[in-house]
């Protein structure tokens, strides 16, 4: 297998406000977009010819990955203007496919081991994985190592093996694609017509992001695999425990206390006297002022965090300015996504380029829309729309 198609056109509506300006594949986990883990997994398995199907906010993908050279791969882009389903996306790549190829979702976190064996699978094949709760996925019913049927979101537990959305095809597949369908429907039709789709099982990582707080658990899992290194400047009196990675040009000021796993990007200014606790990732060009404590959180690029802030189990999207003594403590919360409520333990999610004044407090589960402004001494509860003004 030498060629791979990654589906990266989707929006991820349930992940708003984080996906208002970027596609789901560009959400950051441990300092990098989810898509970059998929591309790295392919490159490590020797697949360097990559076709990215982009659509929603495609510029964000183009700007980050370019022609792929920095990632050791060659990327060609195909645009899917309207996202009508995975088979529709696949139909777009017909002209650039040579022979056998892999298809992967760009928004699921995988590692090289996940697909190590599958890259040499004989098409047509689907990669499956055992999960505890198949109700969210496509359950795969097997028949002697081949797929008998794929049932989307099964009501009853028909099988614990689910479809990872990773496939091996030959260009023969294009004869079966009906654009209004998803790929599993296409496969079911092929099986009905007497074709064989083999199934291969993986024990490697395969993780999905459905709701914003899932990013925190993914962040935690990925961070536990990193190795520490210090590309920046560490002043005297800084304590570092566990695996901590510090990017080039970053300055960690005296008396800061860093407990890994922690990833800090390039050109940041941290401290003095800042505590970064386990499973925290910090982007590029971030300032964290004295006496702030951050734990199990994702802080994106260009964020300014004032003095004496406490941030737990939270996501701060890029470009936010947070003044002194902002508190986002973790706790039980009922968070509404669409029409449903979910009981989760989390801090707050702050959309991009928000301004939070001094001494603001976010209740657990608070979600602040992009470009919002919150005046000093305000309590943030529930959900604020984009461009809200809390005075």
């Amino acid at each position: 297998m030498e060629q791979a198609v990654i589906l990266a056109a989707g929006e991820g509506q349930r992940l708003r406000p984080l996906t208002v300006t970027k596609p789901k594949v560009m959400l950051h986990v441990a300092g990098k977009p989810i898509l970059s883990y998929v591309i790295e997994a392919l490159a490590e398995n020797g697949i360097r010819n990559i076709v990215l199907v982009v659509g929603y906010r495609r510029e964000q993908v183009l700007d980050y990955f370019g022609s792929g050279e920095q990632f050791g791969v060659e990327i060609n882009y195909v645009t899917q203007e309207r996202q009508l389903g995975t088979a529709h996306a696949l139909a777009h790549v017909r002209s650039v496919i040579t022979d056998k190829f892999l298809v992967l979702p760009g928004d699921n976190l995988i590692e090289a081991a996940t697909i190590a064996r599958f890259v040499s699978a004989e098409p047509h094949a689907v990669l499956i994985k055992r999960v505890d709760d198949p109700s969210r996925y496509g359950a795969v019913i097997l028949d002697n190592g081949s797929v008998r049927n794929i049932i989307e979101k099964p009501r009853e537990a028909v099988s614990n093996m689910v479809n990872t959305g990773i496939y091996a095809f030959t260009n023969d597949i294009f004869n079966f694609i009906e654009p209004e369908l998803d790929i599993p429907d296409v496969l079911n039709n092929m099986i009905l017509q007497g074709n064989t789709i083999s199934a291969q099982k993986t024990n490697g990582t395969w993780l999905d992001v459905v709701h914003p707080w899932h990013l925190l658990s993914l962040n935690d899992i990925v961070l536990h695999r990193i190795d520490g290194n210090t590309g920046g400047t560490i002043e005297n009196g800084v304590t570092i425990k566990g695996q901590v990675s510090v990017g080039e040009g970053t300055l960690i000021h005296a008396n800061s206390y860093l407990v890994g796993p922690v990833v800090i990007g390039k050109n940041c200014d941290i401290g003095p006297n800042v505590c970064l606790m386990p499973s925290t990732s910090v982007g590029d060009n971030v300032i964290i002022s004295p006496f702030s404590e951050i734990r199990n959180s994702i802080i994106c690029n260009d964020v300014h965090i004032g003095a004496g802030c406490i941030i737990e189990d939270s996501i701060i999207d890029k470009g936010c300015v947070i003044k002194s003594h902002f508190i986002a403590c973790s706790g039980e919360a009922d968070v509404k996504i669409g029409d449903e409520y979910y009981g989760v333990n989390m801090g707050a999610i702050i959309g991009e380029s928000c301004y939070l004044g001094n001494n603001t407090v976010a209740q657990p589960g608070a979600i602040v829309g992009n470009y919002s402004q919150v005046q000093s001494l305000k309590l943030i509860t529930g959900r604020l729309n984009d461009r809200s003004l809390l005075v």
Partner: protein, 593 residues
């Protein structure tokens, strides 16, 4: 202004020459050609683009060759005037970038001596001079020929039956790329990045001889020590990576360019070497530039006055040499993207002659301007391929902010507020880009008009000029930038409901006056497109259309405003189906006066 390339090694030269030439087309593209060496010289050239020529050219075998892509100065674009040019017997072929001032006299002299000329170019005298001096040593003949020449040049010469290339430069760029028993020559680095990351810079008056065994460089007959440098640019930087044009790709690179500039500023030691230039006793500053860089310089003028509290004078480099009055400043800042613009180089020489300290801000490492100035600051824009300057302009602005804020004489409260604001700029610019859809709508509207005015005040006056320049150079719509207060002194006569006016508004001490100007324009029936901070309801109520940009400290408003205007120009040109990366009659860096 042209691009030249050369190759010597073990591979077939022709495909390499065409590939490298296609990457130099930003330097000019009205005609092109190649010459392949061997027992004889095989020449192929025409007045068409590189891609077209490479399709129709016959396969000429040979592992040594030279190539040229032209921006006409002497003689119209046609096949005879295209390079390479040869001597009378077609034994010597030369490609040349530059201008020879005394070519008329030399040509008459050579004609009298019996040489036959076939073109109208100044270049053609070079192969004939080499022919005249050739006694068995090509390098010596080139050296003698160049002694007769008064002008600027970067040349590559090739002779039938000789497995060597001879290169030389004076006031025009030339780099040598080093491979494994093969060498590449080009006017700039990006053209060669597909082949190597090891480079040798040629200095003025150097003459080099290149064979597959190595390079020998001499200056005034004395051998020079060769310094090889590794370049960290990647090919990625010079590819379109999924975008339709280089211009839009480069517009989108701006958040990263700004972030990189900020990063470098942070990690840099206090600006060593610049102290002397911006020392506290500096009483006035002179800033010189051309084109878009001149608009950056004008923003710089406001910054110098506002942040350093000293007077500043901004001049167009090509006009500067005509001023007879003594210089008012002891310090000059020169801004040039390419570092090769002929007018700029001439100006730097004049300034240095009168004892002025010169600091250059340029995007090209090791460029001529960087080498001849007292001090230099590099913008971190990476290679800019699109002829219309975008990211190099914002990178210049960032360096100016950095410089002036580093030496600012403003109080600590204002400075810390500005520092916080500056670090938010990558995200603010990203917000402008994320709002692209909205700009496309306005571009569609604008594309239906033939005349457009831009107006601004204060620090955004230069942005009105830059916005107009962007629009006219790529969409061919007649666009004029004005200081908002000047519109009533004449240009009002041109206003009608067919002349949209784009008003750039900042929330600073110019705001009230701008409102008045907008009302004046509206009263003449011209549609108003206002570029204003988001949530400005006053503007919303009086303008016909509003382009919103994110709220920033007014001193940084030129950055978000110019990015919005770049997008507006790009999409307007796209709407009008223009050749955006290669606008007619233009070239990227202009090495002629």
């Amino acid at each position: 202004m042209c691009g030249i390339v050369g190759y010597i090694g073990n591979r077939q030269a022709q495909p390499i020459l065409f590939d490298c030439l296609s990457k130099l087309e930003y330097r000019g593209y009205d005609s092109c050609g190649i010459a392949i060496g061997g027992n004889s010289i095989d020449l192929y050239k025409d007045a068409i683009r590189v891609k077209a020529l490479s399709k129709i050219a016959p396969q000429i075998p040979g592992t040594i060759g030279i190539g040229h892509t032209r921006w006409a100065t002497h003689g119209e674009p046609c096949r005879l005037n295209a390079h390479p040019h040869c001597d009378c017997d077609n034994n010597i072929a030369v490609v040349h970038n530059g201008v020879i001032n005394n070519f008329q006299r030399l040509r008459e002299q050579l004609t009298a001596e019996g040489h036959n000329f076939t073109s109208e170019t100044d270049t053609e005298i070079i192969p004939h001079l080499i022919e005249k001096y050739y006694t068995g040593n090509l390098e010596q003949a080139v050296e003698c020929a160049l002694r007769d020449i008064d002008g600027s040049f970067a040349i590559i010469a090739l002779r039938a039956g000789e497995p060597r290339l001879v290169v030389a430069r004076k006031d025009n760029p030339l780099v040598l790329g080093v491979g494994d028993r093969e060498y590449f020559i080009a006017s700039d680095i990006p053209a060669l990045l597909d082949y190597t990351d090891r480079f040798i810079y040629l200095e003025d008056d150097d003459i080099g001889v290149i064979t597959t065994d190595g390079i020998q460089i001499k200056k005034e007959g004395v051998e020079v020590l060769i310094k090889e440098e590794k370049i960290s640019w990647t090919i990625n930087d010079a590819r379109k990576s999924g975008y339709e044009h280089f211009m839009i790709k480069e517009i989108h690179e701006q958040p990263k360019v700004i972030r990189d500039t900020l990063g470098e500023w942070k990690s840099a030691e206090p600006l060593t070497g610049l102290e002397s230039i911006l020392a506290r006793e500096t009483e006035a500053m002179l800033i010189l530039a051309c084109g878009s860089s001149f608009h950056a310089a004008m923003v710089g003028k406001y910054l110098v006055q506002d942040l350093l509290g000293i007077p500043a004078r901004v001049e167009i480099a090509s006009e500067f040499s005509y001023y007879r009055e003594p210089l008012a400043a002891t310090v000059a800042l020169v801004i040039t993207q390419s570092g090769e613009t002929a007018d700029i180089l001439k100006t730097i020489k004049i300034l240095k002659e009168v004892g002025c300290k010169v600091m250059v801000i340029t995007n090209v490492l090791g460029s001529s301007a960087a080498r001849i100035s007292d001090d230099k600051l590099y913008t971190r824009a990476g290679p800019e391929i699109s002829v219309a300057a975008t990211k190099s302009f914002t990178a210049q602005l960032m360096v100016l902010y950095w410089l002036m804020m580093s030496y600012s004489r403003v109080d600590a409260i204002r400075l810390s507020g500005m520092l916080l604001g500056l670090r938010q700029m990558p995200s603010k610019v990203q917000q402008v880009l994320d709002n692209e859809e909205n700009l496309i709508k306005h571009a569609r509207y604008l594309s239906g008009y033939d005349n457009v005015f831009f107006m601004g005040r204060g620090i955004n006056y230069p942005i009105a000029l830059e916005g107009a320049l962007k629009l006219k150079e790529i969409s061919y719509i007649h666009a004029e930038g004005y200081a908002a207060g000047e519109l009533k002194h004449g240009p009002f006569a041109l206003l009608s409901n067919n002349t949209p006016v784009i008003a750039i508004i900042a929330k600073d001490n110019t705001y009230e006056s701008m409102l008045t100007n907008i009302k004046e324009v509206k009263a003449r029936g011209a549609p108003i497109i206002a570029l204003a901070e988001e949530k400005d309801e006053t503007i919303g109520s009086i303008a016909d259309f509003v382009i919103s940009v994110p709220k920033v400290d007014a001193i940084f408003s030129p950055i978000v405003n110019v990015v919005a205007l770049q997008l507006l120009a790009y999409y307007t040109a796209k709407e009008r189906c223009c050749d955006i990366d290669f606008p007619r009659n233009l070239a990227k860096s202009v090495t002629v006066e």
